[in-house]
């Protein structure tokens, strides 16, 4: 069965510290993976997708098929990074878009 697991409900770091938000997935085929972010009082929006191999707002994520992980990283956290982050998996055959439980990132000054 498809599943996305984010083990940390809350991650609290100080400004300038490195950040890693964990995401593990379970999927039998080749998944399409994403990170979405929800800032306070804003809509959920795409942060990045694995296929693009891009860096957005200093965040990167690498798909590790061996470990079935797609962790989100940023070397130096900023206060404006405080938000709820969701890892998501798209079943590109059936079309389901499944989300993890979310991790709330709090960056303290």
């Amino acid at each position: 069965a498809q599943r996305v697991t984010q083990p940390e409900k809350l991650l609290s770091v100080f400004k300038g510290a490195p950040v890693e938000l964990k995401c593990n997935y379970s999927y039998s085929g080749s998944p399409e993976l994403f990170w979405y972010v929800q800032y306070s009082r804003q809509r959920l929006q795409l942060l990045l997708r694995h296929i693009s191999r891009e860096s957005i707002k200093g965040f990167t994520a690498d798909l590790n098929k061996g470990e079935t992980s797609f962790h989100l990283k940023k070397p130096f956290a900023q206060e404006e990074d405080s938000a709820m982050y969701y890892c998501a998996l798209n079943d590109n055959q059936g079309g389901k878009l499944i989300f993890g439980q979310g991790t709330e990132l709090s960056v303290k000054p």
């Binding site: 979405y36 809509r43 590109n92 079309g95 989300f99």
Partner: protein
């Protein structure tokens, strides 16, 4: 640029009543999704639709009904609301499956008393 809109934004209803949450998108996206967001559970998929007249169950479909007679609309109905259905509901759409970005509505906060 209307994009994707949900209505109402807030709703209080009584146990046992039928409630319909509306979702409308202006992009003619093929895929549409309904999620509920609950503390500790994140976003859980209720139903999704790949095209007009095609709908499929997600992770938590019990107690909900959807329809998609037109590409742009994807209403979600709670047939007989229960307190456990108190939640924030999000609608989303995407152009296609795979690596395509999904766009979210602003959410509907539903309280069942």
């Amino acid at each position: 640029d209307a994009g994707i809109t949900q209505s109402p934004r807030y709703k209080i209803t009584e146990t046992g009543r039928q409630v319909t949450l509306m979702c409308h998108q202006t992009w003619s996206h093929s895929y549409m999704f309904w999620y509920r967001q609950d503390l500790g559970h994140g976003l859980r998929l209720i139903y999704y639709s790949a095209a007009a007249d095609i709908t499929d169950k997600g992770e938590v479909p019990d107690g909900y009904v959807v329809s998609r007679s037109k590409t742009e609309n994807f209403p979600l109905t709670l047939e007989s609301a229960t307190r456990s259905q108190t939640s924030v509901y999000f609608c989303a759409s995407s152009r296609q499956s795979g690596s395509t970005e999904a766009f979210f509505g602003q959410g509907t906060r539903l309280t069942v008393v």
